[in-house]
Symmetry: C2
Subunit: 320 residues, 2 copies
């Protein structure tokens, strides 16, 4: 189905703002497919974005991310907030995005019109978040979801990427998962705003808690800089979720009062604009490849009549 | 030491053409460092390039690539040809390019002014050939080396890359190296013009030879298309090297008479020009990042006054 862009985009965005889940689904699909209407969608959404708290949740497989996300959704719904969830699966580049496990666990909210849950693949992006994720988050933001939760499997790079996308990054750990602690030591510490020691009823939870607190204590922090909080949860029994919400809220207040939120969002927009610009350039290069400009230049280079740098300059001049 | 480009480049290229090894070394260093004189160097070299037969040698570690290269150099020297060797080490991104093992094994030719041997790192290129390799091959070509041998460790992608760079691709195998055979099955078959079963005095050499011949027999080939040759060698005893030279020469004759050489070189020049153009674009994007254009646009996006696509378009308009 092709979108007749000039007429349909404003209608679709208006319907999404009214909370129509089909309109939201449609917009995210267009975003995922890289539809030609994307710039129009982004333009129509822009005035309505920037309101949602974007919360990233990450951690190693099995640490309880989906369960925790599920409980967070319930907590935010209790206070009447519309919630958006993007579940990103970096390990399955070929699926359209369905993660059966997550879907099943999230089914508590499947019939709640105040919750929009979407699984996304990470296609088009090496081992990390989909390039469409920031745009999908914009759709949820524009549709009045606040917060927008982005859940992703922590595989090193993902934590850093989600920190670039979220206002608040929550890193989940569980007792006895040595790898997670090592990952935390290796660099997650700089990206996490809140740590969750999940499965806190298990052996070793206290040790994990102390390890994290110890690491936080070692970090250099400027006066007034946020000190990461550590929360103990048993998400499967909904324990500690109130404390987690408090920690996330406290971080957000800190971001707002310190002015760090605005700075963080400008940096995020920089990365987003740069990524779109690079994508556009790659597409233009592809167009040049399919035309005869490149092959004509290459022929001259192959025959020694032109050097490759002058040829590249000529090629670039045609891009504009 | 900075190159005063306008005056020095022609002098340096002239010296390299006269066979001055220091001039050749200097030019390759400038190429590896991405010196600002690169376009001038490429322009000065262009009229003198396109003569060398570029021969790629690849294969798994331990298969005898350096020994075979060494013997090929000896064979070409015997008939009075000036030989250039580029040894690319994709596994050491941080070295300046020295591969002690290769250097030692190549020392037969260390004092021969008719041989130019250079080790190159693969820095700047994920797990494959250095982006500087095609330019370094141009320097050797322009300096009158013919053939230019490019030796690289076969790690899947490398075979494909070397096939994009060489006129003739030689893939080395050894008996009992199941992995190499698997790699061959997986895709090397399309890229190899000549197979070498090295260490052909070892158990299993006949089986390896038959395996390769069998695979070649299964390949679809248009009438008149080159059928890969398989040569048995014991490079450590210089056995079979004459047959290898014959096979490489036969492939070259085929390329010339069929017109495939020109087509191959145009494709290679296309890839080279495109890579240079993309590199230039990335550098320009970097310049924009360091200026205030991107951050100004990002601020407007973060505040919802501009959508990221319009911002990206504005950014791109500044590139030209």
């Amino acid at each position: 189905m092709t979108l007749r862009r000039s007429r349909d985009v404003p209608t679709l965005v208006a319907a999404a703002r009214d909370g129509d889940p089909r309109a939201v689904a449609r917009l995210i699909s267009l975003v995922e497919d890289g539809d030609t209407a994307l710039p129009d969608i982004a333009a129509a959404l822009a005035p309505h974005t920037g309101r949602a708290a974007v919360i990233g949740l990450t951690g190693a497989p099995g640490v309880g991310k989906s369960t925790t996300t599920n409980e967070l959704v319930a907590a935010y719904r209790k206070v009447g907030r519309r919630v958006g969830v993007l579940a990103v699966d970096p390990s399955s580049p070929f699926t359209g995005g369905a993660i059966l496990g997550d879907r099943v666990r999230m089914q508590d909210h499947a019939t709640d019109p105040g919750v929009y849950i979407r699984s996304m693949s990470s296609r088009g992006h090496l081992g990390g978040l989909s390039a469409a994720t920031p745009q999908a988050a914009r759709v949820l933001d524009g549709a009045g979801c606040d917060p927008v939760l982005i859940e992703t499997v922590g595989v090193g790079q993902a934590e850093v990427e989600i920190a670039g996308l979220a206002d608040t990054t929550v890193v989940l750990l569980a007792p006895g998962m040595g790898d997670a602690i090592q990952a935390a030591k290796a660099g997650v510490l700089e990206t996490a705003d809140v740590f969750v020691v999940n499965k806190a009823d298990r052996d070793g939870a206290d040790a994990t808690y102390r390890d994290i607190q110890g690491m936080i204590g070692l970090g250099d922090r400027a006066p007034g800089e946020w000190r990461p909080r550590v929360v103990r949860c048993v998400a499967a029994r909904a324990e500690g979720i109130g404390e987690l919400v408090d920690a996330v809220d406290a971080h957000r207040s800190h971001l707002v009062t310190s002015g760090a939120l605005a700075a963080r969002r400008v940096r995020r927009a920089e990365a987003e604009v740069e990524a779109i610009a690079l994508g556009t350039l790659r597409a233009r290069m592809q167009d040049l490849r399919t035309g005869d400009t490149l092959s004509t230049l290459a022929r001259e280079v192959a025959e020694g009549r032109l050097d490759p740098y002058t040829a590249a300059d000529t090629l670039l001049a045609r891009l504009s």
